[in-house]
């Protein structure tokens, strides 16, 4: 093993310790809330990873998280904080749904790529706004992306309750997209769709972009020290703007995949906080797209696993949030304690 590999394992060690500690905390919390602690831990593992169906659902959850986190990573690498993943997911979902309606007659082989491209384009469009405003006017992309999240949400509400509404459902959801536009399933009983493979490809593509292209080098340089990058001949504004556009496209793909792989419709509530989770994963992964693959899977397993505690030990939903947060806090603390002076 090389010295670098050893260093990597050493970096991973606190997470392992943290994970064990977190399970301990979980057991204590469950017991304190009157639940059966061993059952809880068992259920957590079984629900997320222990059964084919459970794992399939974990994979489905991984897809948007991985898209979202690599989107955030790409922005962060360029020194831009894309808080707009939620909005861009919705923009991608809107575009994907629209194109899916139009592509009703097309064969699947054409329709699905068209839907995905539309999703990417929709997200990119929403990413372009903060990109341009930051490059041209120096306006904080954080501010703009957050505002656009709200705006995108209202637009989705308009479409899903207005022109595209499915009147029978009585909710803010649109009519179903044609079956010819939906992603294939990886296994029918398992219920995982092909989106996770696309997300995996996206993560690898982002890695390749960052570390194997000149643009990626420039993105990293700009994110590291924009002044030095500018004096190194790099067009800083354009690089940041493009990174935000690409970031938006990735998030948009998440939206497209959720529509064509999972919901088969545009739905208000399509993104239950994927934006926030993506940021969390991106930062936890130390802004590395390959680490994000593992982190997204781990995070999805955590969410899926802890969520099952409602079913298995009757915890209220709020307690599940508390457990999730506690697990993360213990992880962070175990890492922090090791490095404390």
């Amino acid at each position: 093993m090389t010295a670098r590999a050893v260093a990597r394992w050493q970096a991973a060690a606190p997470y392992a310790v943290g994970l064990v500690a977190a399970l301990g905390v979980l057991a204590v919390l469950v017991a304190a809330l009157g639940g059966d602690a061993p059952a809880a831990v068992g259920s957590l593992v079984r629900a997320s990873l222990g059964s084919a169906a459970g794992f399939g659902q974990t994979l489905n959850k991984t897809a948007p998280l991985l898209f979202g986190s690599v989107a955030v990573i790409l922005g962060l690498r360029a020194g831009a904080f894309n808080i707009g993943v939620d909005g861009q997911i919705y923009a991608g979902a809107v575009a994907a749904t629209g194109v899916a309606f139009l592509a009703a007659g097309l064969p699947k082989l054409l329709a699905v790529p068209a839907v995905l491209v539309a999703g990417a384009a929709g997200g990119a469009l929403l990413g372009a706004v903060p990109g341009l405003l930051r490059a041209r006017a120096g306006v904080s992309e954080i501010f703009v992306t957050v505002m656009l999240n709200f705006i995108a949400l209202f637009f989705v509400e308009y479409l899903s309750t207005g022109p595209w509404n499915d009147p029978m459902a009585g909710e803010a959801i649109t009519r179903a997209v044609p079956p010819s536009t939906t992603l294939p399933l990886l296994g029918v009983r398992v219920g995982a769709h092909a989106g996770v493979l696309l997300a995996l490809a996206a993560a690898l593509a982002v890695w390749w972009l960052l570390y194997r292209t000149v643009f990626g080098y420039e993105v990293r340089a700009v994110g590291d020290n924009p002044t030095a990058a500018r004096l190194g001949g790099i067009p800083v504004g354009r690089t940041v703007a493009l990174a935000l556009v690409a970031s938006g496209a990735l998030a948009g793909l998440a939206g497209a995949v959720e529509v064509s792989g999972f919901h088969y419709r545009l739905i208000l509530g399509l993104s239950p906080g994927y934006g926030v989770m993506s940021i969390l994963i991106a930062v936890l992964s130390r802004r590395h797209p390959l680490v994000a693959i593992v982190a997204s899977l781990g995070f999805a397993a955590l969410v899926v696993g802890t969520d099952s505690l409602q079913r298995s030990v009757g915890l209220p939903a709020s307690a599940v949030f508390v457990v999730q947060a506690a697990v993360l806090l213990v992880l962070l603390a175990s890492e922090g304690l090791r490095r404390a002076p």
Partner: protein, 504 residues
């Protein structure tokens, strides 16, 4: 006599680098103590241990003969230790005044008027003057250096550590600073002075300590020291001889500035009708007191600033599109003045820093090759003797002088590959040790011999006189005087720098 401060057996390791390897050092009250050493020898690290910023892995600190534990800078401040940092630690959004008084404002309410009066009288006493009400980020680094010095003096420490305080000062300012230090030690303070300029050490210090590779090599009284011995201790052998520049034989015009005007974003005129020429094979030195348009001159030539008037020609062709990128394509490279803010990509590797600016020429857009980057970086590190764990180390970890070498390595590696015609070098040897300075000078000379031209902007008159074929003096954004090699005269140049009218 017990020394004011004694450090013994101090060890400090950063990852793979043993920065201090059992270093000893002591300074007495009433002396100016020079600290010398190659770039990366551990001078800054040692002083950071003393000022509480770094916790040593081993070793003792004694103050007034009693062992102390310094847990943080607050402890050091309490013990009366003040420090001028090599890379100034200033709050860039604060005014110079706010920076100087920070931590010693006195009183609950901030009485800016009273504090201003205090600082003004301090400036008067020590012969350093800075505009107090401008945010520091708007000040040239030379002025920032003065703010940092004023900040340390304002604190009235018992021990004052100055880490390369003079790199950007004019000779007059250096004189003023040294006489201030002298009066301070006469009042019983101790002063540690880190510098790479042997002459300064010999002039200002009572005792001198030389460090090499994290250890003390020698401590001598000034009487026993001479330049050659000091250098020998530093490098552990004889240094290379100085580079000689043959006079240029009037080549073709490389750079022409005609009546160039630059107005900055605040509407302040930075260059006010500046005209000058650089020909092939020529080093043109630019002298001037910091803040007279040097930064704007470098920026406008290197493409970082767009002129608001006048004309720029490169190899006879007028330039229309500005921006650093297009300028690099036309063969103009720049070593900027502020290595930390403008030069280095701190979290990227040393190798990745080396290829910055050349990356577009090196690789097709989709074929960035990290292995190639690494080997280029390795070569550059070797040629320029950049002290670092390797080409894969994050550049931000390097010592000040090694950062500076990295910037030089970047442009010369690029020049070696061809297609580079003009070099704009701003204080390129700031903080370099003696051998490195000589090496860099030799590189500059060789670049000219191979048909390049250099616009050398420097605060160091000796350096300018040694290397330049011509020296122009910048005053309030214009060239007010020009000297050919035969006319070089520090006093005349100094007068021109001060704005005293000189015939051109």
């Amino acid at each position: 006599m017990t020394p004011l401060v004694r450090l013994q057996g101090v060890r400090k390791r950063f990852g793979a680098v043993q920065a201090l390897d059992g270093a000893d050092f002591e300074v007495a009250a009433g002396e100016v103590h020079g600290l010398l050493g190659e770039n990366g020898a551990g001078k800054t690290t040692l002083m950071n241990v003393l000022s509480g910023l770094y916790r040593p892995d081993a070793g003792q600190v004694e103050v007034d003969g009693t062992p102390v534990v310094i847990r943080g800078p607050q402890d050091a401040v309490r013990l009366g230790i003040g420090m001028v940092h090599q890379h100034f630690e200033l709050v860039r959004h604060f005014t110079a005044l706010e920076n100087v008084v920070l931590g010693r404002e006195g009183g609950f309410l901030l009485d800016r008027r009273a504090l201003r009066a205090d600082v003004e009288s301090l400036m008067e006493r020590v012969g350093l003057s800075v505009p107090l009400d401008r945010p520091v980020r708007e000040l040239p680094v030379g002025v920032q250096q003065k703010v940092e010095i004023l900040k340390a003096l304002y604190r009235g420490a018992r021990l004052l550590v100055l880490d390369e305080p003079t790199t950007l000062l004019t000779p007059q300012e250096v004189d003023a600073l040294f006489s201030t230090l002298r009066s301070l030690v006469e009042r019983g303070l101790g002063v540690v002075l880190i510098t790479h300029k042997i002459q300064e050490v010999l002039r200002a210090c009572d005792r001198i300590t030389v460090m090499r590779r994290g250890r003390r090599v020698a401590t001598v009284a000034r009487a026993q020291a001479d330049a050659a011995r000091l250098v020998e201790w530093m490098v552990g052998g004889a240094p290379p001889g100085p580079a000689a520049k043959e006079p240029a034989r009037g080549g073709a015009a490389l750079l022409d500035l005609v009546d160039v005007q630059v107005v900055d974003s605040r509407g302040v005129v930075q260059l006010d009708g500046c005209t000058l020429q650089v020909r092939t094979g020529e080093i043109v030195g630019v002298a001037g007191v910091s803040g007279n348009g040097q930064t704007a001159l470098a920026g406008v030539v290197a493409g970082a600033l767009a002129p608001s008037g006048g004309e720029i020609r490169i190899r006879g062709e007028p330039v229309r599109s500005h921006g650093v990128g297009p300028r690099i394509q036309r063969g103009v490279l720049w070593i900027p003045e502020d290595r930390v803010r403008e030069g280095v990509l701190p979290r990227m590797t040393v190798a990745e820093n080396v290829v910055l600016g050349r990356h577009r020429a090196l690789f097709p857009p989709l074929r960035y090759d990290p292995r190639r980057v690494r080997s280029l970086g390795e070569a550059a590190v070797e040629t320029f003797r950049v002290v670092c764990p390797g080409p894969d180390a994050p550049a931000g970890l390097l010592s000040g002088g090694n950062l500076q070498k990295l910037l030089a390595a970047r442009v010369f590696a690029h020049a070696q590959a061809g297609g580079v015609h003009l070099l704009v070098a701003q204080n390129p040897t700031r903080g370099l040790d003696v051998p490195s300075t000589e090496f860099l000078h030799a590189q500059l000379v060789r670049f000219c011999q191979q048909g390049g031209g250099v616009l050398l902007i420097s605060e160091d008159l000796d350096e300018l006189q040694k290397l330049s074929d011509r020296i122009v003096v910048l005053y309030r954004g214009r060239v007010v005087a020009e000297f050919t090699r035969a006319q070089f005269d520090p006093y005349a140049i100094g007068r021109a720098m001060a704005g005293v009218e000189v015939a051109r």
